[in-house]
């Protein structure tokens, strides 16, 4: 099972916590909104990714199980 991060861009209000907690996968654009790598989240980053998603004040960061690998 693989995991990927996704942002709900409507909910996101550019707090930027995610980029601080997971710089390996998240950077910020010119306006402070997260640019999220579409790479899989490897096991060693999974705990950090969970923490970043949980820390988002608007719950806009989603850690999703990747269903595309099943198809």
């Amino acid at each position: 099972m693989t995991h990927r991060l996704r942002v709900n861009p409507i909910a996101c209000s550019a707090h930027g916590m995610c980029a601080e907690l997971l710089p390996e996968r998240i950077s910020l654009d010119d306006w402070g909104y997260p640019i999220i790598s579409d790479q899989e989240i490897p096991d060693e980053l999974l705990a950090h990714a969970r923490r970043a998603a949980a820390a988002c004040p608007t719950l806009a960061l989603l850690l999703e199980r990747d269903e595309t690998t099943d198809r």
Partner: protein, 418 residues
């Protein structure tokens, strides 16, 4: 309005809709085939959505049909694209063909409710449709007409669903998509009215007949709206795969004084003329140029217009159409438009073109809907062919053509709200 290959526009009369009797005399009665047969015929015909995305209709029908519980059908005739007029022509001249398509699609997916969305500011479309609805017996289907106070996002299906449920005309985060959870949380098929009209004819005549015109990848016919600087602008019906040179000729233009065409709509592509004249309105030919058939718009930008000023104005309009929900679109589109406006006025910051390209990259793919992607598609295809003009404005300021009246339509916000 001229008809090159009449199918949808067959038999239409100037100035008024076909009555039910006239409609049946032109097209004959529906075949009355069942849900599975409709989906199968749609699949084999290869009907593509005509609202802009070009998505295969059969896949949408099957997706909604496969859900449980009561379904809803939304026929989208909002025609949010400012350069498009085809849906209004179809609804005001041949409303029964669209209604036959509504019945067939509702049968295919098992919908008991149908909502036909029309722009709030087009009374002739509304009255043609209401009149046609009253002429028919609706024992199995509850149908109503919903006037939509259109903005550009009326073409976006999640925004339309949200609006129909009493919310703002703004997209929602997906999933769920409307086929999973749409109007009143029911699985909802949102389909453009032209697409439904094609279905009405495929239901009658079958997929083989449909494919007698067009190409394997653009089967059947399509409605085009010819606009911009053309001697005879208007709506025409042509076979799929018609070449741009032919489309311009139907608009009365030899293309001699045309320097570019906008194809698809404002989410479409800016293609240089004469290079693009031989291109067919067909996915495999358009895709390498970043273009698609989209909503069937072909708008001519004449030699006498300033392409940079036109592009800057359209990008400003698109920036203003943002729902302002997602950060990259809310910030990025105005940044791009502002830089372009300053560049066109000869007040470009150093590196303006590079920054515009940088912002375009930041906006693409980062909205809840495809509005930013579409806007950036138009921008990047235009910038590719306008390099010399952009540099010229950057260095020397406005050109002589900058002061000509606008060619590409950008309706004012007041006009949209009226």
């Amino acid at each position: 309005m001229s008809v090159a290959t009449p199918r949808l526009l067959d038999g239409i009369r100037p100035g008024r809709p076909l009555t039910l009797g006239e409609h049946l005399a032109v097209h004959g009665p529906p075949a009355g085939i069942d849900a599975a047969a409709i989906i199968d015929a749609t699949d084999r015909a290869g009907i593509l959505g005509r609202g802009g995305a070009g998505f295969p209709m059969a896949r949408k029908l099957a997706a909604v049909a496969g859900r449980r519980g009561p379904k809803v059908l939304v026929a989208n005739g909002v025609e949010a694209e400012p350069m498009s007029a085809k849906d209004g022509v179809l609804l005001s001249r041949s409303p029964h063909l669209v209604l036959d398509g509504v019945v067939a699609a509702a049968t295919a997916v098992g919908a008991r409710d149908a909502i036909v969305c029309v722009p709030a500011d087009t009374p002739d479309v509304h009255s043609a449709l209401e009149g046609a609805i009253r002429e028919r017996d609706w024992h199995k289907l509850r149908i109503r007409v919903a006037p939509v106070r259109a903005g550009y996002l009326g073409g976006e299906e999640t925004a339309l669903v949200r609006y129909l449920d009493g919310g703002p005309l703004k997209p929602t985060f997906t999933p769920p998509r409307p086929f999973e959870r749409g109007v009143r949380r029911r699985p909802t098929l949102v389909q453009n009215v032209e697409t439904l009209a094609h279905l009405a004819l495929v239901e009658r005549h079958g997929p083989g007949w449909f494919r007698e015109l067009g190409t394997p990848t653009s089967p059947g016919t399509m409605l085009l709206t010819l606009s911009g600087a053309l001697p005879q602008p208007g709506v025409v019906e042509v076979p799929g795969g018609t070449r741009l040179v032919r489309a311009l000729a139907l608009g009365g233009s030899s293309a001699a004084d045309v320097k570019a065409v906008v194809v698809g709509g404002y989410f479409g592509a800016w293609l240089p003329i004469p290079a693009a004249l031989g291109l067919a309105l067909d996915e495999p030919e358009l895709a390498p140029h970043g273009a698609a058939v989209g909503a069937g718009v072909v708008a001519a930008v004449p030699d006498w217009a300033c392409a940079v000023a036109e592009l800057a104005r359209v990008m400003s309009w698109l920036a203003a159409q943002s729902a302002r929900q997602c950060g990259p679109c809310t910030n990025g589109l105005p940044a791009i438009a502002g830089a372009l406006e300053r560049l066109a006025a000869g007040r470009a910051e150093p590196g303006a073109r590079e920054r515009i390209a940088h912002w375009a990259g930041l906006v693409r793919g980062r909205g809840a809907c495809r509005h930013p992607d579409g806007a950036v598609r138009l921008l990047s295809t235009a910038m590719r062919s306008l390099e010399a003009e952009l540099r010229d404005h950057e260095r020397h300021g406005p050109c002589d053509a900058c002061h000509h009246p606008p060619v590409l339509a950008t309706p004012s916000v007041e006009a949209i709200a009226a």
